[in-house]
Symmetry: C2
Subunit: 330 residues, 2 copies
Amino acid sequence: MNIAMPYLLFIGDSEFVKTARGVRDWRPEQCIAQYRHASNPVSLDLPDTGFDEAFKAGARTMLLGAAPPGGGLPEHWVDDVCKALRAGLDIASGLHDRLNAHPVIKPLADELGRTLWDVRSPEPSYPFGTFERRPGKRLLTVGTDCAVGKKYTALAIEQEMTARGLDATFRATGQTGILIAGGGIPIDSVVADFIAAAAAQLSPPAEPAHWDVIEGQGSLFHPAYAGVTLGLLHGSQPDALVLCTDPTRTGIGAFEHYPQPDLQEAVRRYTEAGALTNPDIEVIGVSMNTSAMGEDEARELLEREEARLGLPCVDPIRLGVGRIVDRLAG
Amino acid sequence: MNIAMPYLLFIGDSEFVKTARGVRDWRPEQCIAQYRHASNPVSLDLPDTGFDEAFKAGARTMLLGAAPPGGGLPEHWVDDVCKALRAGLDIASGLHDRLNAHPVIKPLADELGRTLWDVRSPEPSYPFGTFERRPGKRLLTVGTDCAVGKKYTALAIEQEMTARGLDATFRATGQTGILIAGGGIPIDSVVADFIAAAAAQLSPPAEPAHWDVIEGQGSLFHPAYAGVTLGLLHGSQPDALVLCTDPTRTGIGAFEHYPQPDLQEAVRRYTEAGALTNPDIEVIGVSMNTSAMGEDEARELLEREEARLGLPCVDPIRLGVGRIVDRLAG
């Protein structure tokens, strides 16, 4: 998967534009313009253009960056998609409905020679490889739960490393991450047999000083998703883990009767599990989403956990990830 | 999945009849006859019949129980499959090629109202449920590696429990197991997101004294498949684990540079991992494939490991699984 950039961000008449906003935030230089219906009050603070105008301005792919109710492709977007294809644009989509299965869009794209990227759809299989150590370095974000900042933390670490002149590549494992990176593997959609194989392919052999910064998924402590998390951990063979958490949660996501793990226990369990494929693995820092806490309370918590765990504890939004990146650069 | 039995076992002109033999061994009462090409020297010690004759004798499904080279459906079997459909039989297949996608077989089955069972093909998704404890008891076989007797051990335990008048159901997670049981979920073919959800569905709520005996897959110590193993463990929420191993192996399957785990460590790790969804989980016995060892050597090893681990250690073929079942009945 290698999506041509820059993007025209399509938000149509939707107010749910999380995907488009993620791309806008993390790859502003790749976002040329937005296309929205006249009625839509939401804006990404980009120029409003038509399809031809966006193509002339350099856009190469139109990103369907909004989630309509239900996650399907609204029928009244089809005409816009067809116009974008005719204007010269590929289309990238994180919707549940596959563009490559659409009875109008797919034939038109084929006729015009355009590419339709359904970023939720992985390959049917991946080669197993050997699971020997690969050259290059790898960092994986892991979590006490889902939706605790694993993608954000990975992107922030890549950004900080790049700003320091370090050689780093963000590797995406979920749809928004894939649209930000222009490639990746939607790891939780892969057939179970191939989770680790897919993860290995996602971070291929690289230069010895290069870091892949891999977006984690799920949690070893999540009753439904721990299998995905473990396969991603084993296939990534990370040298460094960053543990992400939300200190205000008591239970796991939608399974409130499952408790959040203690951070010390989580460090131990992730290290133990990851050591199967990389015996040198270590947790190098903790990333906490303290957005629901006051400034003083957050700083106190971070200091207390830092002393207890012996690891840099940061809130990536409040304080940045510099102190974690220090551990990689040193 | 609820495959109508008994079976006509089709082995055609293939000498690789492992699947058919597994069904023949574990469900002899469900095997009415075999169908093979005149040239085939292999026999399952069943009457040779034609399709009409098998149907009249009570067969309801023809099982494609042989693996042709490559695992696909040989073109010269298609005519036989069509004749079997016309004779009144459903067809069950563990082949890679899906009968439900075949341009001749599928339309004919639809026209005749027959069912085609592609046992490698799971549902596209499974409901997540709550991962709360379900009524009924569950036993899962787990392994130090792939192909160490997890299916055999589960079937032997079900057989022994049933012989003792205990209420037990074998739950299949792989294609041969599914054909033996007439149902199940091919867990390593499920989309990664749904491994645990599928496993939960496989062993639904039951009577308090009922035991589901669940066929394990992969190994927590296998670099490629541990994710499947963990998801199956979490979704099954087993009360009892039986650890399966082959004491003559040094490395893991095709990944010889990965070592076999120590059994004590394996017991600890499986218990630790499984406790997430069932805190009362315990390993109740060890099942060893000692077929490559002499009788004395095998007995010595089993006694030594039994003393070291404090758990009954059996070879299910040499000695049966009675001493493990004692732990369930007691």
